[in-house]
Symmetry: C2
Subunit: 204 residues, 2 copies
């Protein structure tokens, strides 16, 4: 199969991310290429809308996505921002093929590498290192989710903001005040107040 | 190696749990046995105390454990209850060998099968099905943690209680009012009020 120069560079980003955790041979890289596609989205386009099934897991090559839910009162809650080297998608919907309750939209022009469930399951069989990579990735994701849960339950708004800055060090210029406030579960006004007073907390 | 009748039964519970996700041969089961130990705790004993390193991941054969954190104000936050067929431990501390900020105590007499990090890493190499099992387990754990985060951010106390009852269907008689309230992030008084009025919410 032939790849354009551009696609070669796109896949290099994925392979670099995977090789931070596990080694990959050229044959394994070819398998990964053959079970995925590159897709581009413009700013404001949706990767996933609620009620639809999340048919793909998406490695972010470029751009920034926001995963959020709208509750019955119409309030938005941002669950996650996904930037370069992160993954985006609704794992529950992806695994169960049930409609998603999430919306995932692009806050910037975005480029992703997409894997379907069938593709990923075949990859796990053909390239055990991919399965190991996802096990390691899921360990980290689970730890981060537990951490954020604890932070939501027990920390002050300032501490939550501090955790956010450490988790997403360069995202502040890429998303709006309102989106950050929604992620933190506070009002934009409280966020502005915190930001005026904010000094990075040491070593937490 | 010889196993007592009792230990054979204990391991059957682990194998049944694993075989709900992946198949295991007798040779693979022997590997799993050889990289783990059975350990018993009495009620009120600690599996892990904050400041210590979580050297083991623990499959719960019998009993009930509570994972909690105490914040700087001395407030307890219950992160998880672990009952039969669940796992207990602090994954972050286990992976990084850094001191844990969690306490895990036994609310009942408890029996677990313990794996060290070295043991588990060897098992991943020797028995790829164990790696697959953990990938699947971590997927579910990550989905559950994300779900609980969303519930904490956006749901009412009644809805949170309803989620709790569905997640832990038989635990109410095994843990105290105060421990459930701490898990939900509400006061014991609010919980009592909710319980008096509570009717299982349909289909959510």
């Amino acid at each position: 199969m032939l790849y354009s120069k551009n696609n070669v560079m796109i896949y290099e980003k994925l392979f670099t991310a995977i090789e931070q955790h596990v080694p990959l041979s050229e044959i394994e890289k070819n398998s990964i290429r053959s079970y995925s596609v590159v897709k581009k989205f413009r700013k404001h386009q949706y990767l996933l809308q609620e009620g639809n099934i999340s048919y793909t897991e998406n490695f972010v090559v470029k751009g920034c996505l926001r995963s959020y839910e709208v509750n019955e009162k119409g309030q938005e809650h941002v669950i996650q921002f996904s930037v370069e080297d992160w993954w985006a998608g609704d794992l529950l919907s992806f695994l169960t093929e049930q409609p998603s309750s999430y919306n995932i939209d692009c806050l910037e022009d975005t480029e992703v590498i997409q894997f379907t469930k069938t593709g990923l399951d075949r990859l796990y069989d053909e390239v055990p290192m991919v399965e190991r990579y996802f096990r390691l990735l899921l360990q980290n994701a689970y730890i981060a989710a537990s951490d954020r849960l604890l932070s939501t339950l027990s920390k002050s708004a300032v501490e939550k903001y501090d955790d956010f800055i450490k988790k997403y060090p360069h995202i502040e210029m890429r998303v709006t005040n309102k989106q950050i406030a929604s992620y933190l579960g506070i009002t934009p006004e409280s966020l502005s107040r915190i930001r005026r007073q904010y000094v990075l907390l040491p070593n937490s």
